[in-house]
Amino acid sequence: MAATDVLRLDHVTMRFGGLVAVSDCNLALTRGELVGLIGPNGAGKTTVFNVITGVYRPTQGHVFFEGRDITGMRPDLVCALGIARTFQNIRLMKSLSVVDNVLIGHRCHLRSSLAAAVLRLPGYVREENLLYEESLRLLDDLGLLRYKDAPAGSLPYGEQRRVEIARALATRPRLLLLDEPAAGMNPNESQALVRFIRDVLARFDLTILLIEHDMSVIMEVCDRIMVLDHGETIAEGTSAEIQANPRVIEAYLGVGYKHAGNY
């Protein structure tokens, strides 16, 4: 396959004992693309994310990031390479402030040692000030600056999702994995989220893989959609193709589904 692929999953299979969570999954993302990953609960979508980010080592198959084999690499190293993600159930550092959360994302770009940090060497102080400034800038860009000193756990649900995306962006990723960002949002909020995701994609040089159950979000923002069921890829294509695909309708969308925007 072409070396321009940002991410490529090559026959990835993930078994937990007798359970096959992901079976022979193939996937290729080209740069700047926004690809949706949909399927019923338990179809193995989050497992795919966990395999990509190094939480799990796949039973079989390989994961390539920008042509480099990252199969089973430690999560912090995967992050350093340029893959960031959010979580299905928000996993912010709840008792830390919003700016600290973002700072934790930025932290992986610190080059100084811990010893330099304790001694507050001039080089370290400069670096820390720059990162702090950058964290504030990122929060400002995403419209979250007013929350900067509030504990992350005290924010409204939708804002916590956005802070989580901000934290992921702070690691300066080239590939962003979003796990159900619209979960628990009302239609207004998810529409705002759609704008937000588009905005992020336009402003940061990113490729996005998106898991979502909210079809209005998926159909609106995704260039391409991939459907998983029982760990297998059952369809792949544009939103129109997916909506017309009988297997997808049977497994997931349900008969009578039509994307009308009034979901």
Partner: protein, 433 residues
């Protein structure tokens, strides 16, 4: 579109940041000088008994702050503190015991090499004690730090018990159950104990307050998420555990010198437990809490002694009841935990911000000819968690670019925001009014 916003300004005026840092440094230096004067005075004017209590308080500060780094900041439930203290105490004691004492006290077996020939000045001995404890922590940490929560607690507790049992059974090094006696009392000196306490507090607070040190907090909050956000979890856990153990070893070394005698029974589980009480009652993740509570704890335990001696309150006669102070003490703890579930300080720290803010506000107000309250009224309102206001739609509207200044300031950094941003905000405000 948000992307078009030019960020020509910085969010915090570097000169303001530097000025605040200078003010805080001045506050620190002044309070250090006052503390030094106080120690000088106390050291000269206090009797042996109160001096001893204050020395013990300093050692408890060292132990509590070091356990707080491991448990409160990094979230590793470790019950191995007594083990690390024992190692520090034995190493330091063996290095400082005079040769004559060594010849006398080792009755069961002669002292083994290298301790029979080695001796060191107190400072070197204390540092060596800390380092040995640190090495032990590194070795034990390799397998044990994979565990989490209660399991880690049990494993580290097991380690501490092993150290105690081993100390009981190698008479050629530890003199077995007889213990070591006549340890030079260099730590019976406020400069020593509080000097080390100050160093411990300085080191650990610098470690956890840096952006680098946020990794510890991230691990405490969510280990999986931290690792995915690029935190080297094993590395940071090891650093935290070893650093905590080094200071526990130093604390143990000072304790041995203060009490002049150590034996394996000294380093039982109750010792760890006492420190754990201080850390939890003071607040997990609060160095200030650990310091204050360690002081209160040590002083209170002694101050409650008179109630054991038997006393009368009018017609009520209380007989002499040994152990009554522990009952009262436990009640105090119960009340603390009932009313302050997150400890006395609940993760908050002392900072000079209030003073610096006040100084700066006053300075500004006088230069602009405004009263401080009028100035405060012009500051943009930061987000308050309790007022859930419908701010959501506003910030979702994506017009946040120009609102940078309006959304800017909060709390202690308020005054550090650039003057440019401040002027914008005030300009808009005054146009409206």
């Amino acid at each position: 579109m948000v992307g078009d916003v030019e960020h020509a300004f910085s969010y915090r005026d570097p000169s303001v940041v530097a000025r605040r840092a200078r003010l805080k440094l001045a506050c620190n230096l002044v309070s250090l000088a006052l503390a030094a004067a106080l120690i000088h005075w106390l050291q000269r004017n206090l009797g042996d008994y109160p001096l001893r209590i204050l020395n013990l308080a300093a050692i408890n500060v060292i132990l509590a702050v070091s356990l707080n780094l491991i448990y409160g900041f990094t979230g590793m439930f470790s019950l191995g503190h007594a083990g690390f203290m024992a190692m520090g105490a034995y190493v330091a004691a063996l290095l400082t015991l005079p040769q004559a004492t060594k010849d006398v006290i080792f009755l069961m077996a002669p002292l083994a090499w290298p301790f029979n020939v080695l001796s060191a000045p107190p400072l070197v001995a204390v540092i060596a004690g800390g380092l040995v404890a640190g090495v032990a922590a590194f070795l034990i940490g390799l397998p044990v730090l994979r565990l989490r929560g209660d399991y880690l607690g049990i494993a580290t507790l097991g380690f501490a018990e092993i150290i105690r049992v081993v100390a009981n059974n190698i008479p050629s090094v530890t003199n077995g159950a007889l213990g070591l006696k006549g340890i030079p009392g260099f730590a019976n000196n406020l400069w020593w104990t509080w000097g080390w306490a100050a160093f411990t507090v300085w080191f650990i607070s610098r470690l956890v307050s840096s952006a680098h040190g946020k990794a510890f907090l991230a691990i405490r909050e969510d280990e999986v998420a931290a690792e995915i956000m690029g935190v080297r979890v094993t590395y940071h856990k090891t650093v935290s555990f070893v650093t905590g153990a080094v200071f526990a070893g130093i604390g143990g070394a000072l304790l041995g010198s203060l009490t002049s005698t150590i034996d394996p029974k000294t380093f039982g589980f109750m010792l760890t437990f006492n420190i754990l009480i201080i850390v939890v009652a003071g607040g997990l993740g609060s160095i200030t809490g650990s310091i204050v509570t360690a002081l209160l704890y040590t002083v209170l335990l002694e101050a409650l002694r008179p109630i054991e001696a038997g006393w009368r309150l009018g017609p009520l006669v209380v007989p002499e009841i040994p152990g009554l102070r522990m009952v009262v003490f436990s009640l105090v703890l119960l009340v603390i935990i009932l009313f302050y579930q997150r400890g006395l300080f609940g993760g908050r720290e002392f900072s000079w911000d209030w003073l610096v803010n006040r100084l700066e506000r006053r300075a500004r107000a006088t230069t602009r000819g405004e009263t401080p309250s009028a100035l405060r009224a012009r500051q943009p309102e930061p987000y308050r968690p309790s007022t859930r206001a419908d701010t959501r739609d506003k910030s979702m509207s994506h017009g946040m670019g120009q609102a940078a200044s309006g959304q800017g300031g909060t709390n202690d950094d308020r005054d550090a925001l650039t003057d440019e941003a401040g002027r914008d905000a005030s300009g808009q405000q005054s146009k409206l009014t």
